[in-house]
Amino acid sequence: MASLTAAEETVLSHTFGDGLTRAADALAEMTGHQIIVAAPSVRLCSASDVIAMAGGPEAIVVGIYLGIGGSLKGHALLMLPPVGAHHLARILIDGVAEPADDDDLVDPLVFDPLATSALQEVGNVMISAFLNELGMHLAEPVMPSVPQAIVEMAGAILDAVLVDLSMEGDRLLAARAAFIDGDRAIEGTLLVLPRPESLGTLLEVVGVDRL
């Protein structure tokens, strides 16, 4: 995956942008909060660039990972700051609109099974919404895996994904957007990383013929 033409980048940005908007809509529907998609971008970059997009290698995040299989292959990762993830879980479980007082959190890096499950479902719903948008262009279904949630350094979470993507080259296609609501109770980053061999499929379905 050496390069994209300007036309290819424009078309992919548009298609992924639609997918990221669908993901934001899905989060808005789940939470009842208005969600803004901030700084969406689609670009070819290095493994280090992808880690920078996630907030840097040492940033501790709640990562919700789904593998993507079927006609499109790759990885999707929703990353939330731990305190924000607790707020989001409270909104989903208790229907509390206001964020909890941070002092209530004994250890922000610990999530009970119910909160973990709620966050996995957020990842599942957002990433599925994204894939549904892309899937509208595809003849064969796209199949996300069961979500996994993990509290870790962003670099360490991305390591395994980047290893899988980097066996064949040093440039990766990354789609990224941040999601925030007005009072910043909810904020997160969604990264979608297609496998290199899926680039041709993607460009084909969005109507770009590669030479």
Partner: protein, 168 residues
């Protein structure tokens, strides 16, 4: 009113040299700390020569692969490249303390993500052995990410996870 001179009251921050994925850093500056952030299945190898006080840190990604690209992305070609670089800076691999960390199983990725960490750790140990070298200490495996810091002055290797800090 006397202006406050903030800079004078701040502690000196030691210079950091960062080894990103597939990169190595080597220094003989005693004030420098070498760092590899956020290792998951990746493996870091630290080399420190106690006589010449040269330190090196490599951030390997995969056991094997084609040459070209980042210098130490692959252990099979990158290990020798790292030791050669260490020697060029005055480090002596045969007299160096060699320490490794990383190789965790982070995510159950379909293509074998859980296996890569273990294979990386094994590849570093086997690669060193084939050169007649061995690891003096290591912290491999598990399910936690790690950040490692090598102090060039002392050869101390700090291994930090989300919940723990150990010294090798």
């Amino acid at each position: 009113m006397t202006p406050t001179v903030l800079a004078a009251s701040l502690p000196a921050v030691p210079p950091l040299l960062v080894a990103g994925i597939g990169e190595m850093v080597i220094s003989r500056d005693a004030k420098t700390t070498l760092v590899a952030y956020g290792l998951g299945s990746c493996v870091a190898l630290a080399a420190w020569d106690p006589h010449t006080a040269v330190g090196g840190l490599a951030h390997f990604m995969l056991p094997t692969g084609p040459s070209g690209g980042p210098p130490v992305k692959f252990i099979d070609g990158g290990l020798q490249a790292f030791l050669d670089g260490f020697a060029r800076h005055g480090g002596r691999p045969r007299h160096a303390q060699l320490k490794g960390a990383g190789g965790a199983a982070m995510l159950a990725i379909v293509s074998g993500g859980l296996e890569i960490g273990r294979r990386n750790a094994e590849a570093v140990a086997a690669g060193l052995e084939s050169l007649g070298l061995k690891l003096h200490a290591h912290d491999f495996g598990g399910t936690n990410g790690r950040t490692v810091q090598l102090e060039v002055a002392t050869g101390r290797l700090l291994v930090k996870s989300v919940s723990n800090v150990t010294t090798l």
